[in-house]
Amino acid sequence: MNRFALFFAALLFAALSPTVVAAPETLPKKLNWQTNLGDPIFASPEAVRGGRFRSFITTFPLTLRLVGPDANGSFAHYLRANALALVDFHPNTLNPIPMLATHWAFDEDGKTVYYRLDPDARWSDGKPVTADDYLFTLEFMRSEHIVAPWYNNHYSKVIVEVKKYDQHTIAITGAVPKPREELLYEYGLRPTPAHFHQLDEQWVRDYNWKIEPNTGAYQISKVRKGKYVEFERKRNWWGDNKRYLQYRFNPDHIRVKVIRDINMAYQYFAKGELDTFPLNSPRFWHKKAQGDIYDKGLVGKIKFYNDVPQPSSGMYLNEDDPILGDRKVRYAIAHATNVQKVIDTVLRGDYERLNSQYEGYGDYTHPGIRARDFDLARANTLLDEAGWQERNGRGIRVKDGRPLSLRVTYLSSNHSDRLVIIQREALKAGIDLQLQLLDPSTGFKQILEKKHQIAWMGWSGGGLSPVFWEFYHSDNAHKPQNNNITNTDNPEIDRYIMEYRRATDKAARVRLAHKLQELVHEQGSFIPTFKVPYTREGYWRWLKLPPWRATRTSDSVFATMGSTGGLFWIDREIRQRIEDDDLEHAKPSLIIDETWRK
């Protein structure tokens, strides 16, 4: 009798909390543990530690939390870069490499991966990273208190279970079987320090400015609100003798200063108060990045071609808007958007036309999809068909007394000159685009709350294969705070997205991804604009790079953190000499690295 009661209690317990598994499990016998210590290292053994690297952001972060409201701003990548993954991908070979896990093994069910955790791994407060921290991630990410629906969903529907075998062995199970590399990528999990968090209704507020212990090389050491955030290199970081982490993250301090105006930031750079400066914008590369400091060879310029998923820059049309709900109008706007003219004039031919939201994903990218061309005749026909035949005195089309006026929300005054051209050209088709420039934080909030009509912005690309659910599934439509900012709600797309998410075979996934890209193209709610298949930067010559400079997937040559970052180092002697004006003038330096050019 007693035994039965116990049995039932255990059953009940298991049913109530399927994730927190009390009894120690036993590992399957026939596991094939893998690791990868054979790929070449991509950091230079000549690197020297020390110095302070100074960088900037344009708005101060609204929070230091990694999840929850406002945690998706531009500062977030600094925080995420120091939350290491179990397994990362080699930036050149793209093979999996160990990070927080030393070994991994795949279950036969095709959706479970076993990890052996690195016993050396430590939180920044010195506590060891154990299996419990991974169990806690699941509890944490599923909690309503973090106010992050995307994470709530992802860690219940996509990642369904985490099992602990001992302090340093876990298994993660996803919802559907996937190809092996996708398993590592999609069902990866970052540990969350269980000893740090106290989850309750106050969490979002209480933890807004708290500094969470992390596993990466840097931790925030100083925060001056509105002014700067400073990171400090951990002494005796546990990763320092790991194959793919050694010789990296060399500066002792990273100061991220808030400089609200990009031109002001350039002045800081030109005076040597910032170490590098992004020169991707043609105006900077061709016109501003000239003068004494370049001629004397104190500052170098580098153009480095990379091979990564392209950010999806363009115009996101909100389908919930009565005007934009009409597919013909959306097509017409695309045909009235003269991207090529912008490229040929203000962008100096430097940028290329982006053809779809999913470029740079290798096989997954549909080779046949082309962005809709600037074609006024087509735009006119489409608008006439959609019932916008009449024009008012200003030449703007009118339907039922309402003019075809649309607000374009954008977040950087540097894009004004591009938009002005697009606006003038669209007017030729009788479309009145009204430009609304907002502060990035406010503007992004407006977009996430889906109060925009047309959002001029880009999502950074990433991952091994394209994601569709976040952007186009109806689950995310008509609700604030998610990435479906077009409010796309199309049953056919939904069906293929679910099929795509379930598919494990790469060929099938590629086929479905292509189909989805066709459907998204047909939906017409995203108008792609530009892509930049390289990174361009200016840097003071006291910064030293390895001979290969950066990696295939580097999106910045001088990234301080992250999976491709931390390769450069500071030569303090040269710096001192440059600052004392004691350096013989060198030749101007312009590096164009086409190793990874496609």
Binding site: D344, V346, S416
Partner: protein, 347 residues
């Protein structure tokens, strides 16, 4: 025929005698009147088109689609192209304004990158900005907007400020006391922050901006009006009017206001100048009128961002200095003309 009372006539004569201020007033008035007809000076639309025997005046009113002149499009005619075409074929005449570009028109060709330097051949007498728009055209339209903005601001500020200040002085007592405190508090609200907050939530338009600025701007003039009214109300002529049985409103409007107006008028030019500068400052900071409205502040911002294209910052700084100088000269002259003492000695 407007009949001025002897005092006013004397003041006008004195004003005219101060040459610098008088000519400044004439120039500024002329500039303002000209700017009201800015469409006739700087415009992408032609002044006159004679095509197939018909006369068109496209400057004002609805757009004339290209089809009308034998082009194959329905959007607004490109008059410069039309001019070139008609000049070649001799079928008609197109007369363009002296500056053949509108303030919003982007003049860009493939392979050349704005901003363009000033050039007489291209018709961009002061060059173009970073989007290829004509700087002169934007200065002209920006001037009009700034001046109109400033005059509207002045009107509303004075309307509210004078009424309240006058009543404070006339009624005195509790009303005066309460409003003094309100105004003290009011004038301590940092209005720039309010504008920044408003601008970060919605993009302010012309009228919202006027509204916000009036909301915080009316307090300045109340103090002067209050003092002037107190002074006048104690005069014998007010007492006399009251003795005859004149109503309060008659006393305020017929006696006190006209006599204290001299205080006001000396402030007008400086208020205009401050209106222009504050709009420019707001535009410069990006909290002003929405792009692509032609604005001096925006041009100034472009200029400071592109110091290598010197014509941007030079044109707008020159224009601004000129206008502010004219206004200040006028202000000086008015102040002097209204000064009852003919000579002052400063030691």
């Amino acid at each position: 025929m407007l009949k001025l009372n002897p005092v006013a006539r004397k003041r006008l004569e004195r004003f005219k005698a101060i040459r610098r201020g008088y000519y400044s007033a004439i120039i500024l008035a002329a500039l303002f009147v000209l700017s009201l007809g800015a469409e006739l000076i700087a415009n992408q639309r032609a002044l006159l088109v004679i095509y197939e025997g018909e006369w068109y005046f496209p400057t004002y009113g609805d757009i004339i689609p290209g089809e009308t002149f034998g082009f194959d499009y329905r959007y607004e005619t490109d008059y410069k192209a039309l001019k070139a075409r008609l000049a070649e074929s001799g079928e008609g005449v197109v007369i363009m304004p002296p500056v053949p570009y509108g303030p919003l028109e982007t003049d860009l060709a493939v392979g050349d990158f704005p901003p363009h330097a000033p050039s007489i051949d291209s018709g961009h007498y002061l060059g173009t900005d970073t989007s290829g728009r004509d700087v002169l055209a934007r200065i002209i339209y920006g001037f009009r907007i700034a001046l109109l903005f400033s005059l509207l601001l002045l009107f509303f500020n004075y309307l509210i400020g004078v009424s309240i200040g006058c009543l404070m002085g006339f009624w005195g007592g509790t009303f005066d006391l309460i409003f003094q405190r309100i105004i003290e508090i009011w004038s301590n609200v940092p209005f720039l922050y309010v504008i920044m907050i408003v601008a970060s939530i919605v993009q302010p338009g012309f009228w919202t901006l006027v509204g916000i600025m009036v909301f915080f701007g009316w307090t300045g003039i109340t103090w002067y009006m209050r003092t002037a009214t107190y002074k006048e109300a104690a005069r014998d002529y007010v007492m006399a009017a009251r003795a005859i049985g004149a109503s309060n409103s008659r006393i305020v409007f017929r006696h006190i206001l006209p006599n204290s107006v001299s205080t006001l008028i000396t402030f007008v030019p400086f208020s205009v100048a401050s209106g222009i500068t504050s709009l420019t400052a707001l535009d410069y900071l990006g909290f002003g009128l929405p792009p692509p409205t032609p604005s001096w502040g925006e041009l100034l911002k472009q200029g400071t961002e592109n110091l290598d294209s010197l014509w941007l910052v030079l044109s707008v700084v020159t224009a601004m200095t000129l206008v502010l100088m004219l206004v200040t000269y006028i202000g000086e002259a008015i102040r002097e003309a209204f000064d009852p003492r003919k000579f002052s000695y400063y030691e």
